[in-house]
Amino acid sequence: MDKIFVYAEAAEEGVADCSLELVGRARALADQHGFVVGSILIGHELRNWATELIHYGADEVHIVDGGPASTTNMLFHAKAVAEVVKAEAPEILLFPATITGRDLAPRVAVRLGTGVTADCTSVEIGTYDDPLTGKRYEKILYQIRPTFGGTVMAAIVTPYHRPQIATVRPGIYPVPSKDETRTGQIKEWPIGRAEEEKSCIEVLEVKREKRKVDLKSARIIVSGGRGAKPEGFKLIKELAEVLGGEVGASRAAVDAGWMPYDHQVGLSGQTVKPDVYIAVGISGAIQHVVGMKDSKLIIAINNDPEAPIFKVADYGLVGDLFVVLPKLIERLKRTC
């Protein structure tokens, strides 16, 4: 049977949720269209993780253990994925569109001489009638992604080359439920050791750290206003951190001294247009709105159902931010 493969990205403790989401999506497509779901797991001593992947929906897991250095050496990952895929010949290969996946997928595509589509927000299986050859292709992967800065959507296919490779944005598909009774095959691949790549790239240090405020290029901004109070900003910062975004503020919050000026959004602050703007405890005074109205997605959290911010929001949550934010943070921590 044809195969869909998912690259399993490692998080600190186990397979990253973004990869589990893709295993879940692959499972759903497989059940509907008749595929085998496989996963490629690269790193050192990861057999337990392989079982996890099976519990989440994989039929087979291909482990490549290249020694301790294989966790961080991406050249080794590229080589390993390419080798496994050459041998197993899946129809479809999915990567999470993380920093790692976005680096790895295009490399693997060159090694395999095939196409790759980045940052899909949806992957579907369908039939493709090729206008050039007049030929019909069955069970083709439709790779749907935003382009032109999110203003345009595109549906893309890879008709003649295999595998069809795509990276998929994290958080689009839910993490599937775990079924510990599921069973599957685990196969180990001896593909050399990661240290062999050391002559080209050597990892000297890995550090977890925070970056400084940059509202203009932030993809996500969580902003607080008069309603947030200094305690609210603690929650806002935490939410921003969970989402990998920056913290913004209304003029009221800056004037009150809760946030420094370089966080201010609005007519007398910065004009921003992130992918997601979350306004917390901001009433939606026009002076603020003109600075953020071009954000791609606006979410407002406010306890006043009449607050004008809801008129410019895609999603509005009416509620006390001090109750809603902790819940939201907790839920998002679980899913991403």
């Binding site: 295009p106 790779q143 800065g149 890995v206 997605l297 949550l317």
Partner: protein, 270 residues
């Protein structure tokens, strides 16, 4: 030491202007004003800072139709010394695999002309297609090390560079053998605004235009037919505000309902 640095840049539809569509719903690329890809400016700035620190030559390379040169001239105004434009009608419709192949062939030719190549820099992605493919793919085609999401070039020697790269939730420091391809991300390299004098003198700098035959590019591997991926269709993304207001006394249900709405609409908060 004198580094030979190639900076890859791309003209993109000016991100400050809305996209234009033809009556049939496809993008009207010719009607859109072009600008230098904003992410590439970080790469140009990184190259300039390296040159200022240790000396060298910066060569700009782009694959684009000749009319895009006006947009690319900003790189010359910023301080790129010379420019090579790969322009050929047969390249139209190239996807990332075909584009990276073609650009890697240009880099090969430049490399052999210069005799020595130290670094190939590019922006981590483009503001129009945002794939982030080109940097890593060129490294693969050339068979040299490549690092993407480079935040800062920490040290450079005749044989290697030490770079700090962004990873999920942190950073990684790497020692990379040169020549290498680095995709520059982040805002460490704040692009300088060219001076008025630089703008005026950029018009006098040398720009070489090559077609694919001059570079030895296989025409069968580029253009629409040489590209594995096909765009089936494009449509304008819905930008209207949804205006969905959720109200529930119970915060758990409120948050659940909200996340469910997002999921239904296929929206990711990451």
């Amino acid at each position: 030491m004198g580094l030979n640095i190639v900076v890859l840049v791309k003209p993109v539809p000016d991100p400050k202007e809305p996209p234009r569509f033809k009556p049939d719903g496809t993008l009207d690329r010719l009607a859109m004003k072009l600008a230098l890809n904003p992410y590439d400016k970080y790469a140009v700035e990184a190259a300039l800072q390296l040159k200022e620190a240790v000396g060298g030559t910066i060569l700009g390379v782009s694959m684009a139709p000749p009319h895009a040169l006006d947009a690319l001239r900003e790189a010359l105004a910023m301080g790129v010394d010379e420019f090579v434009l790969l322009a050929d009608k047969r390249l139209a419709g190239s996807d990332t695999l075909a584009t990276s192949y073609a650009l890697s062939m240009v880099v090969r030719k430049v490399w052999s002309n210069l005799g020595k190549l130290d670094l190939v820099l590019c922006g981590v992605e483009s503001s129009d297609s945002n794939t982030a493919h080109i940097g890593p793919q060129i490294a693969e085609w050339l068979g040299i090390p490549g690092v993407s999401y480079v935040d800062k070039i920490l040290e450079v020697s005749a044989e290697a560079v030490k770079v700090k790269k962004i990873i999920e939730g942190g950073s990684m420091t790497l020692l990379v053998k040169t020549p290498a391809v680095l995709s520059i991300a982040g805002t460490t390299y704040v692009p300088r605004i060219p001076t008025l004098r630089d703008v005026l003198s950029a018009r006098r700098k040398s720009v070489t235009t090559w077609n694919i035959d001059e570079v030895g590019i296989d025409p069968a591997r580029v253009g629409l037919l040489g590209s594995p991926t096909r765009v089936v269709r494009m449509w304008a993304a819905e930008v209207k505000r949804k205006g969905k207001v959720i109200s529930d006394q119970d915060p758990d249900r409120l948050v659940d309902e909200f996340l469910e709405e997002l999921r239904k609409d296929g929206i990711s908060l990451r």
